[in-house]
Amino acid sequence: MDLDTNTLKKLDGNQVTAFQTYESLLDMARKATAPGKADDRKRIAAFLAAELNATDPAPKEEPPKGKNNEPVKEKPPVPRYSMSARSQIIQLLGIVAGDDEVPALVTASQELTLREPVRGSLDRMRGQAATDALLAALTDVGPEYRVGVVNSLGVRGGKKVVQALQGLTDDVDNEVRLAAWDALARIPDAGSDAIIAAAAKCKCPVARLGANKARVRLAETLARSGDKAAARRIYEDIRRSDTVAPAQKQAAEIGIKALG
């Protein structure tokens, strides 16, 4: 199968054609990730990135005349592919793309329907450009999208990521806060506990539970990274508390026992 515009346009074909085309492209992308195939991979990634936001002139039609018989302005160019096809291109980029393709993904993410597929692809890409793009996306207004971005950042480390996530722990949106605590719990930074512990004292039972679950996870993350003293402090604090749910208290007991 040739990798060209005509092939990608088949993603907008009928159900069968679109499916078969996507499966073939997926196979091509996966094979291009084999050792020694870096050139193939770059070629595929560059082509897909160029096509992702490509446009074509609007279909020609006889424009109605405006006032004083003046022709109406021509319509702006239209995306070459449908949202559905572009979403699939984004998924393919998640397999082959590198830092060079991140700008194209960021451009696509300006469109509401595409931003979650973009986030999913950036999630797979662990280069700094992808991390920076996710950090920038935290300023996006919608909490539904920001929760996903937070989740993707939670699997990365680094000072910038930790600072950004810590900054979200008093976000206006409850779901974003919960996600931020959980994301911080996956990164071995003992400084995060003070923030999450403060949240665990709030009156809202949902938030309290979420914060305590995160504290238990954070303690385990710290123990695994070698900071047993910090892990023990968290576990013992949870054990002492009157407002922690039984399951998290149980987990703290188990954690203390495991620390020895």
Binding site: V16, E116, S152, A179, Q250, A251
Partner: protein
């Protein structure tokens, strides 16, 4: 204060509250699994219900055909030590039917839930059954563990290797008694085959073959509006958005890689799990995998229709997992162990050996290498009983979460090797591919927001 042996969590926590209590001091108002532990009675399936205080209160998450027919009506509602008070499904028809089944047997209306997170908020639940499609197993199970519930989760345990790691971590973190639904580990014939292998009755094992079947092609169905009773967005959950047609869900989900791993995980999770057991690899796995698969000629399924995957373990044993045997010597479904001194073939209907005399051997209690979950011909009864017993004793059941994870991993390794079309080296200790970043990228998948693990 360390956790007293044999005292379940609710009893333990009540005992530790307030002034320090000796391990033998028990709270006075125990219910459910705490009461079971206090009495430390062996579970007996006499047909009559145990007293309410000794019944484990459960919820069912996932009320599809398997959930309703096999688990709920077939087992849970008949078990004297279980009482189902809550059912949950994103398909209203399923949850209403599940509730009807409970009501017909118990004369009590269970609570019906759309969202499993709400079901898990109930303080009266001791445990849950997770019988959802595969792509929901990890999320529902981890949430249940974080809510302090014990878990029985259907196989294949996971959609990805990374999910399995996280489920194991959560189970250890919370001390969960977690049973994977690989009930062949509680089957008399399969257990016999494993004892024979582990006791060297066919000598040194050289190769194992597992035959797990193929899937017929399906026809295309046009995309359509989901029915009003089905919350399609919730059904998809962490999987990428996909337009609905009826053949995409409710049993057929097995043949879509977004939700499952095809026949490789559907039956591989049974037979490859047996191989892991027989080879003593429950905390490990193979070190090499390569495979070829045939996609579907037509229809919407995107898993491999037929395949042959070769695994090698560090001890030199080769496992060949294939859709069907290359010759007609044995049935199309089953496990063939080939050793230096003979062979054994086993499936759900029979066990055969190169020398029938081999099959007469029975291990003495000292020779038993694997957990014997019970003498019943009904492997489900043994499997359920083992889980319930472990809820009392807080020991790990025969198909503990790590066992389920490692067995599912064997299947996922095969699917990844076929997807990438190249041989791969696997480090079972680090649970990573060796020298292949892209393969490691397939160890997990991003979840569609807002879901995460």
């Amino acid at each position: 204060m360390s956790e007293p042996k044999g005292l379940p969590r609710r009893g333990f926590l009540k005992a530790s509250a307030g002034t320090l209590a000796a391990a033998s001091a028990l709270p006075t108002m125990l219910t459910g699994k705490a009461a079971l532990a206090a009495n430390n009675k062996k579970t007996e399936t006499t047909g009559a219900s145990a007293p309410p205080s000794e019944r484990i209160t459960v919820g069912l998450i996932g009320c599809g055909d398997l959930g309703r027919r096999l688990h709920l009506s077939g087992k849970i509602l008949k078990h004297p030590n279980l009482q189902c008070v809550a059912v949950c499904d994103v398909d209203q028809h399923h949850v209403i039917d599940a509730a009807r089944r409970v009501r017909n047997v118990t004369n009590k209306q269970p609570s019906m839930y759309h969202d499993f997170r709400k079901l898990l908020e109930r303080k009266d639940l001791d445990a849950v059954f997770v019988v959802t499609p595969d792509h929901w197993h990890a999320l529902c199970s981890v949430a249940a563990m974080e809510a302090g519930k014990d878990v029985y989760c259907e196989k294949p345990l996971t959609l990805t290797i990374d999910e399995g790691r996280k489920m194991v971590a959560a189970a250890r973190r919370y001390g969960t008694v977690f049973q994977t639904g690989s009930m062949q580990r509680s089957d008399l014939r399969f257990r016999q085959s494993v004892e024979l292998v582990r006791n060297g009755k066919i000598g040194k094992i050289k190769t194992v073959q597992t035959y797990i079947g193929t899937v017929p092609d399906a026809d295309w169905e046009p995309y359509q509006t989901p029915p009003a009773n089905l919350d399609w967005n919730f059904w998809l959950g962490p999987a990428p958005w996909a337009d609905y047609f009826p053949g995409r869900c409710h049993y057929q989900f097995r043949w879509f890689s977004e939700y499952s791993g095809g026949k490789m995980t559907d039956w591989g999770a049974h037979h490859n799990d047996q191989v892991q057991w027989a080879l003593g690899m429950d905390q490990s796995g193979p070190v090499f995998v390569e495979g070829t698969g045939t996609p579907f000629a037509k229809g919407p399924y995107n898993v491999m229709r037929a395949f042959e995957v070769h695994y090698r373990y560090a001890n030199g044993i080769d496992l060949f997992c294939m859709s069907k045997p290359k010759n007609k010597t044995h049935d199309n479904n089953g496990i063939l162990y080939e050793g230096s001194d003979g062979w054994i073939f086993v499936n759900r209907k029979k066990i055969e050996a190169s020398d029938p005399e081999i099959l007469k051997w029975q291990p003495s209690p000292d020779e038993k290498k694997v957990i014997d979950t019970g003498p019943s011909e009904d492997n489900w009864e043994n499997h359920y009983g083992n889980w319930i017993e472990c809820i009392k004793t807080r020991e790990r059941p025969v198909c503990d979460v790590e066992v389920g994870h490692r067995s599912a991993t064997v299947c996922h390794l095969g699917n990844i090797a076929m997807a990438l079309g190249r041989p791969l080296k696997w480090d079972p200790a680090a649970e990573q591919f060796v020298g292949d970043d892209e393969a490691n990228n397939l160890v997990g998948r991003p979840m569609r927001a807002p879901w995460y693990l």
